[in-house]
């Protein structure tokens, strides 16, 4: 793994632009709606997190985060059903939608990274409810933010 320890690739503005655009296109493809890239790249605290761990040339985690209202809206769009709760005790549709959301975003990011010479593979998706940037030991932390129908969606890219 020739790249381990060399984080300079992640400082490239061209990579950031490529990742932002790649995520935007993935979101638009998944949600069938217009997505606006937000200029502000500061971390924003949300309620719902879909996380995917990756490994390969580099290891890390990709999170997709959104508030509960947005998660329910997304779940309704994807399933075509009225979803009123993230965990409804039955099929937990909203939970699974956000989980798959994270998988799709991470997968498309991995494809772009591969084209940039960084080869990573994804692990099975899981979901967490908390991420604290102050406690994160990642060497690289990037926060990409998007607006979808007035709601904020955030993608957090962490490199160990």
């Amino acid at each position: 793994m020739a790249n381990q320890g060399d984080y300079s690739k992640f400082s490239s503005p061209a990579l950031d632009t490529g990742l932002k655009q790649n995520i935007k296109e993935s979101l638009e493809g998944y949600l069938n709606g217009a997505i606006d890239i937000q200029a502000n790249n500061d971390f924003v605290r949300h309620e719902v997190y879909g996380g995917v761990r990756y490994s390969g040339d580099f290891n890390g985690i990709i999170y997709v985060t959104l508030n509960s209202l947005c998660a329910l809206k997304v779940a309704q769009i994807i399933t075509g059903k009225k979803v009123t709760s993230l965990y409804d005790g039955k099929d937990n549709l909203a939970f699974h939608v956000v989980r798959e959301f994270g998988n799709i975003i991470a997968g498309n990011m991995a494809t772009l990274l591969y084209k940039e010479g960084i080869d990573v593979s994804l692990n099975v998706t899981w979901m967490v409810t908390n991420y604290d940037p102050d406690k994160s030991t990642a060497n690289v932390k990037k926060y990409f933010k998007y607006k979808f129908e007035g709601e904020m969606i955030q993608v957090i890219f962490l490199v160990d």
């Binding site: 994807i78 991995a110 080869d119 593979s121 998706t125």
Partner: protein, 123 residues
């Protein structure tokens, strides 16, 4: 084109639901669904003579999609398997094709693409 009998392998109930809807609307029959590699192998074995096509996610719990593909091709060199993944890396796609996959669909997918791929692979 007559409807085909399809085994769906994906650990996401959302993706399973989307594929079931798309494929049934396209006139196909879903023989069974599996959410992990081990049950995918068992279900393929149990329905081998009926299954016309398998849709197979690469990142699944237990045996991953590539291991499942390898075992299916060993059981049946004529098996028709379409790989599905959120990742579209050339090296992974080439590896799957070398093992015997017939096509590849990247997520998020649209109904037209899924049905066209099924039609192409099963003609």
């Amino acid at each position: 084109m007559s409807g085909k009998n399809i085994l769906i392998v994906d650990d996401s109930p959302i993706v399973q639901g989307q594929l079931v809807q798309m494929l049934e609307e396209g006139g196909h029959t879903i023989i069974d669904k599996a959410a992990d590699g081990d049950s995918a192998i068992l279900k393929y074995k149990a329905n081998k003579d009926k299954i016309d096509l398998v849709t197979l996610d690469i990142t699944i719990p237990g045996k991953d999609g590539i291991q499942v593909l390898t075992e299916i091709m060993e059981m049946n060199p004529d098996a028709r398997v379409v790989m599905i993944s959120a990742m579209g890396k050339d090296n992974v796609i080439k590896d799957c094709m070398k093992i015997g996959a017939k096509n590849f669909i990247q997520k998020p997918f649209k109904k037209d693409k899924v049905l066209a791929t099924v039609s192409f692979v099963t003609k």
